[in-house]
Symmetry: none
Subunit: 188 residues, 4 copies
Amino acid sequence: MALSTRSTDKRQQILEATIRVLRERGLSGLKVEDVAKAAEVGKGTVYLYFRDKRDLLRALVEYRTLGFYADAERITRLARPFPERLKELLARRFAFIDEWRGLWAAVAAEAVERDAKEAWLRGLHERYQRILEAFIADGQSRGEVRADLDVTLTASALAAVGCTPQLDLPREAYLEQLAAIWMKGVGA
Amino acid sequence: MALSTRSTDKRQQILEATIRVLRERGLSGLKVEDVAKAAEVGKGTVYLYFRDKRDLLRALVEYRTLGFYADAERITRLARPFPERLKELLARRFAFIDEWRGLWAAVAAEAVERDAKEAWLRGLHERYQRILEAFIADGQSRGEVRADLDVTLTASALAAVGCTPQLDLPREAYLEQLAAIWMKGVGA
Amino acid sequence: MALSTRSTDKRQQILEATIRVLRERGLSGLKVEDVAKAAEVGKGTVYLYFRDKRDLLRALVEYRTLGFYADAERITRLARPFPERLKELLARRFAFIDEWRGLWAAVAAEAVERDAKEAWLRGLHERYQRILEAFIADGQSRGEVRADLDVTLTASALAAVGCTPQLDLPREAYLEQLAAIWMKGVGA
Amino acid sequence: MALSTRSTDKRQQILEATIRVLRERGLSGLKVEDVAKAAEVGKGTVYLYFRDKRDLLRALVEYRTLGFYADAERITRLARPFPERLKELLARRFAFIDEWRGLWAAVAAEAVERDAKEAWLRGLHERYQRILEAFIADGQSRGEVRADLDVTLTASALAAVGCTPQLDLPREAYLEQLAAIWMKGVGA
DNA sequence: GATGAATGAGGTTTCATTCAT
DNA sequence: CATGAATGAAACCTCATTCAT
């Protein structure tokens, strides 16, 4: 167990370091050597945990995506009214999408073969869909969401919300309004 | 003039070739040699028209952006009702933003130094702002847009529209509705 | 033609340099960088003429083998008695085999995939067999070699001189005969 | 003694494993990690028995060579007629030489410094010379070998079978004789 | 202007070796 | 003794850039 823990730690340590380097230097400035330095491990150690640089990038995208899903799941399970949870979920979703567009989209393009990319993304997305379905179903069971709505379709529609306010629109107001619209649409 | 025309042609020829290679191989697979081959010129010729690879990328982003602006200007000047022109403008804008997010965002990140990027983008954006201002002002002068609206602010708001429908939402309906909202907001 | 000549020159220049480095430092000490230095070209130039290091090694073995064959052919065509030509041919052959065993065997092992190796060697060998056949036939036509000998078999036997039995010659018989010769020579 | 035995076992176990890996993957594909895995010991254990990789290779060549000498000695001491023992000895010798040329020559080249190599090989060879001398002398004492032959020279000549002339034998004479034998065999 | 052979800095990856456990 | 995770020197190879023609 100690070993497994240590391994997990080091792997994550490298992933986190990669994110830092990525933010500092950008994708085209990402060198394995810098990642190793930032993670305070040897260059060879990176290759103990990842087959090659692309594998590291692939793992990184998955790591961040799963991180978002973990947050999403936590939020949807909070002991708070549906509208509040919805609003917080959307806020987290927008932050993730911003990050995705600014960083992970390009990383993914370099990490995954053109052909395999779609299937890989779809696979990653699947879990989010299920989280939203559980969220909608929960709302229905509590009487906070209209019971006549199809869970799958509604979750899909919610998953599709991905437009983020650009430039300098007041973010808070935007979220407020978006959640309101959704509640008007799906509220019981 | 013949020479200048030929030069201009060759420059554009290289830019277009770069786009093709970019779509085929992605940013990380973009090699100057391939660009030259695709443009049917020698590798050295690329360096006659662009200082280096980054300069090529920078020029490319500007080229595509100016292409969009040219279209936008043309659309806003069509001899058709404001709502129609607005709808078509939005459609073109969305296509551009999709392309930007899928391709040019990453290219820009590699082409421009982190620090200079914001100023460069702002500079690029400026012209779009002016196109929209002229468009709004034109609408006002024709009595198709409420005269009490501040031109600058309204143009800014229009420029900020950048959410594209995701997944499989019916695009046509989306555009229809968006233009309707805008006309309800700004129509005279 | 100038270009082709220049290319050929540089390719050969690199091959010759590789041989020098190989002799000086051995196979395990052969670095592409040193080859480039010895050939007085840039490291990248090596990769213009050879796909990778293995390709360089493969080409090198072929280059040396063909060099031997050229010599062998020249010797067998000299205007001198058969025994003299035979002796000189054997001398050259032994020198080549020494070189092969001391150097090229190991190079070949690193240059060619285990599975493909046999076919590759057989292909290389073919030409030598044909040179010997022509040599034997020439000897017969001049009345210097017994006319009842089968050309192919005799050439094969000659090709095998200096080697432990090759290909599919019956090993047992070969041993039998060799021991007999030896017994005739040293037996009481 | 138990410990020493165990140690010896493990050492030999590693040597045998090295041979297996060498045959499977070739010299350039020989990694200490694979050797350890094949020997079913930890990677560090290899370094308990051998200073470094070269030491392992050196020991391996000696191990195989001594194995051949043990066989050779056994064969020469069989209670059978000289010609039979000679034939069997040659068979074993050829097998060893084949193996040497296909494998150990390259291993030796990597294991021993260029300068030290000759002396090292000569040292290894010495014992074989003595085995052959004893064999010839035994043949003479039994009246199976001509008594007028010089034991040392004859043993040297026998040692040279299967090799292109080694050491310091007069090359010209060797070629002369070999060509003569061949001409006796194939001459008209 | 146009070319593409030549270059070598700079990146990725491997693997012999060490050492804490 | 035995281990194998960790290391980084050293090798391979790519590709942006130059420059003689």
